[in-house]
C-alpha cells in the first residue's frame, strides 16, 4: 500500500486489495494517522467491485476523521458507476508524477509559508519588488501597478548590491529552516517559487560580472535616424493599461524577454548591456549607459543614456520616476535632452511623477504617467 500526494490530494493506493473488507481494514489503519486528517483524499482502487453500501461506508469512514473522499481511481466499471452516483470524481491518478510521501515533509502549508515570507519582507521594506519576484510575475507590471498604491521610499543606494545578496542569503536561510519542519502537504506553486528565487540569486552574480568585469563591455551601435530631433515633453493623461488589441510579434517578444534586476546606483562610465528587460532600483547618473533589448525601467532618476529595444524592437519603452536622460534611444530612433532642460542636478523629492518614453510616429515622446 502506498501513500503519496498529488494535486493537493492525499492519495491512498489500495490497488492490490481485492475484497471490500480488506479495503476497509487497511483504510481504517491508514486513517488513524495524523497526516490524513483534514485532507481531500483520493482512493486508488484495483479491480475490486464495490457496491453503493460499501463505498458509502468507506466515505463515512473518511468523513469521520474530518477528511473528504473527493476522488476515486478504479479499474472496475461497477465501482466507477457507484462512485459517480455518489458525486465522487473518478479519475486516473498516476503515481509517477506524484511526490512520494517522505517521513517528514520538507514544506509548510502554502498559506503559512507565504505569510512568513511576506512578514520578513515587510520588516525589510522590500515588499513591492520581492513579492513580485515570488509571484513570478513580470517586474515591470508589478512596479507600474504598485506605483500609485505605495508611497515612495528612498532606496539606499550605497552598497545595496551587497546588501541584496545578504538579504537573499537570509531568505534562503529562512527557507531552510522551514524545510526542516515537518509538514503535511505540498503546494506545487511553492516549489516553483523557490526555483525562481534561486535564479535571481544567480542573476545578481551575473550582474556583478557585467558591472565590475574587467573587459569593457561592447556597446551596440546602430545607424540612428534623425540625430537632431529633440524629445518632446507632452503632458497627457495616458492609460497604462493598453486597450485590447492584436498582439504583434514585437509584443510577444517583449513579454518573453528575461528581466535583469539591478539594485544599485549606476554611476558615470558604467555600462549595462542585457538581452532582455532591465529594471534598475536606484538612480542612473549622467555618463552611464544602459542598453537593453527590451524595456528599461528605472526606479529613480534617469540621467544617463538609455537605449531600449536595442535589437530593433520599436515597442520597447523607457520608464523612470524622473526622466532627465542626456539621450534616449529606442530601437533605431534617437533623441537628446532639450537644451532648455539643462539643470545642474535634480532635487530628490518624494513627489516624482513617473514618466515613460515610447515611439510615437517615429519620434521618441515622453509621457507623464499621472493618475
Amino acid at each position: 500500500m502506498e501513500q503519496f500526494l498529488n494535486d493537493n490530494m492525499y492519495v491512498i493506493d489500495l490497488g492490490e486489495l481485492n475484497t471490500a473488507p480488506e479495503i476497509i481494514f487497511e483504510l481504517s489503519s491508514v486513517l488513524d494517522k495524523e497526516e490524513v486528517k483534514n485532507k481531500r483524499i483520493c482512493l486508488k482502487l484495483g479491480n475490486v467491485d464495490l457496491n453503493q453500501a460499501q463505498l458509502l461506508s468507506i466515505k463515512s469512514l473518511i468523513n469521520g476523521i474530518d477528511s473528504t473522499l473527493s476522488c476515486v481511481d478504479t479499474k472496475s466499471v461497477e465501482t466507477e458507476k457507484v462512485a459517480l452516483s455518489l458525486g465522487i470524481i473518478v479519475s486516473n491518478v498516476s503515481s509517477e508524477n506524484a511526490v512520494e510521501l517522505a517521513p517528514t515533509m520538507p514544506y509548510k502549508m502554502a498559506e503559512e509559508l507565504k505569510d512568513e515570507v511576506t512578514n520578513t519582507e515587510a520588516e525589510e521594506n522590500e515588499d513591492i519588488v520581492e513579492e513580485s519576484d515570488i509571484n513570478g510575475e513580470s517586474l515591470n507590471d508589478a512596479i507600474i501597478e504598485d506605483n500609485q498604491k505605495i508611497a515612495f521610499e528612498k532606496t539606499e543606494n550605497s552598497n545595496i548590491l551587497e546588501e541584496n545578496v545578504e538579504q537573499k542569503q537570509e531568505e534562503s536561510q529562512i527557507e531552510q529552516e522551514l524545510v526542516e519542519e515537518p509538514t503535511k502537504t505540498i503546494n506545487y506553486s511553492d516549489i516553483d517559487n523557490n526555483v525562481v528565487q534561486e535564479a535571481t540569486k544567480e542573476e545578481i552574480q551575473d550582474e556583478l560580472d557585467v558591472i565590475f568585469g574587467s573587459t569593457p563591455s561592447q556597446t551596440v551601435f546602430y545607424d540612428m535616424q534623425h540625430p537632431t530631433e529633440i524629445y518632446e515633453e507632452r503632458e497627457e493623461l495616458t492609460d497604462i493599461i493598453v486597450p485590447e488589441q492584436e498582439y504583434t510579434k514585437e509584443d510577444i517578444e517583449l513579454e518573453s524577454f528575461p528581466t535583469k534586476y539591478i539594485k544599485q546606483t549606476i554611476r558615470s562610465g558604467q555600462v549595462i548591456n542585457y538581452e532582455g528587460n532591465i529594471v534598475i532600483i536606484g538612480d542612473c547618473h549622467p555618463g552611464c549607459e544602459v542598453t537593453a533589448f527590451g524595456d528599461i525601467t528605472v526606479w529613480g532618476i534617469l540621467s544617463g543614456i538609455a537605449h531600449a529595444g536595442a535589437g530593433g524592437n520599436q515597442k520597447a519603452k523607457v520608464r523612470a520616476l524622473k526622466m532627465n536622460a542626456i539621450q534616449l534611444r529606442i530601437a533605431n530612433c534617437y533623441s537628446r535632452r532639450p537644451d532648455s532642460l539643462n539643470t545642474v542636478y535634480i532635487e530628490k523629492t518624494n513627489s516624482f511623477t513617473p514618466e515613460e518614453a515610447r515611439i510615437v510616429n517615429g519620434e521618441i515622446v515622453v509621457f507623464k504617467m499621472n493618475d
Binding site: 556597446t219 551601435f221 558604467q270 555618463g287 552611464c288 534617437y334 537628446r336 537644451d339 539643462n342
Partner: protein, 272 residues
C-alpha cells in the same frame, strides 16, 4: 590647408586645462578660424560639459579609432559657433583604448580641413599624456601660481622638450590673484616665468564667473564683460600671431580703489 595642432597640458590636475581648451577654442572660432577640440581624457571627459554639448554626443573618439563610424560623424558642432567642432572622448572606456599612432592619424586627417586642432590632455604623465602629445606640434602648458603646479609644469616642459613632435611650447598662467601677489602671498607672473624659463602666452585672472560658465555649459569668452573672458580672447589672438599687450588684470575690487584708478587714469591722459 595645413592646420596647427596644439596640445593643452599641465601635468597637475585641476589647474584649468579643460577650461582653457574650451575658451581658446571658442575664442579662435569667434575670430573666424575653423577649430576642432579633441578631448583625450577618456573615461573622465568634461570638455563636452563645458561647451554644453553633452546631450549631442553619439559617437566618440574611441568609436572613430575602432572604426564604428566615420570621423565626420563623430564631430559635434557647437550650438552657437558653426566654426567650432568637438571630438568627444568616450566616458565608458579608459585611456588604453586609443594609442599614440591612432590619435596621430586622426590629427593628420583633421589638419587638412581645419585651421586649429586643440587637444585637451588628461592630467598626469602616463600613457594618456603621451597619446595626447603624439599628434601635436605645439603645446600650451597651463599652470597656476602655486609651487605644486609649477613643479609639475616643469616636469611637463622637460617631457615636451624630450619629445620628437613638439616644436614650441608656451606658458599660460591661470587663476592669478593680483591682490595676493601684491601682499606677497602668491608668486608673481615674473617669478613663475623665471622659475620655468618659459615664454608666457597669457595670464588669466581668477574669476568666479568661470564656475557659473562651467555649470551652464557656456564658455566665459562669450561673456564680454568678464575679465577672464577678455584674457582668453587675447590668448587666442596671440596664438594666431597678433601682438597683443597683456591685460592689466590688476583690477581693484573695492569702490575706493576703482575711483583711485579712474582718477590716476585721468591724470595720465592730462599729462599726455
Amino acid at each position: 590647408m595645413a592646420g596647427r595642432v596644439i596640445v593643452i597640458t599641465s601635468g597637475k590636475g585641476g589647474v584649468g586645462k579643460t577650461t582653457t581648451s574650451a575658451n581658446i577654442g571658442t575664442a579662435l572660432a569667434k575670430n573666424g578660424h575653423s577649430v576642432v577640440l579633441v578631448d583625450t581624457d577618456i573615461g573622465l571627459r568634461n570638455l563636452d560639459l563645458l561647451l554644453g554639448l553633452e546631450n549631442r554626443i553619439v559617437y566618440t573618439l574611441v568609436d572613430v579609432v575602432e572604426e564604428r563610424c566615420k570621423l565626420k560623424q563623430a564631430l559635434v558642432k557647437d550650438k552657437k559657433n558653426p566654426n567650432l567642432c568637438l571630438l568627444a572622448a568616450a566616458q565608458t572606456r579608459d585611456k588604453s583604448s586609443v594609442s599614440a599612432e591612432q590619435l596621430k592619424k586622426i590629427t593628420e586627417k583633421l589638419k587638412k580641413d581645419y585651421d586649429y586642432i586643440l587637444i585637451d590632455c588628461p592630467a598626469g604623465i602616463e600613457q594618456g599624456f603621451q597619446t595626447a602629445i603624439a599628434g601635436a606640434s605645439e603645446a600650451i602648458v597651463v599652470t597656476t601660481p602655486e609651487m605644486s603646479a609649477v613643479r609639475d609644469a616643469d616636469r611637463i616642459i622637460g617631457l615636451l622638450e624630450a619629445s620628437d613632435g613638439i616644436e614650441s611650447y608656451k606658458l599660460l598662467l591661470n587663476r592669478v590673484r593680483p591682490n595676493m601677489i601684491k601682499s606677497k602671498d602668491m608668486m608673481s607672473v615674473e617669478d613663475v616665468e623665471n622659475i620655468l624659463s618659459c615664454q608666457k602666452i597669457g595670464v588669466i585672472p581668477e574669476d568666479t564667473g568661470i564656475i557659473t560658465s562651467t555649470n551652464r555649459g557656456e564658455p566665459i569668452v562669450n561673456n564680454e564683460k568678464s575679465l577672464a573672458g577678455k584674457a582668453y580672447m587675447n590668448v587666442a589672438r596671440r596664438i594666431n600671431g597678433e601682438d597683443v599687450p597683456f591685460l592689466d588684470i590688476d583690477e581693484p575690487k573695492d569702490f575706493v580703489g576703482k575711483l583711485k584708478k579712474f582718477f590716476s587714469g585721468l591724470k595720465k591722459q592730462g599729462k599726455e
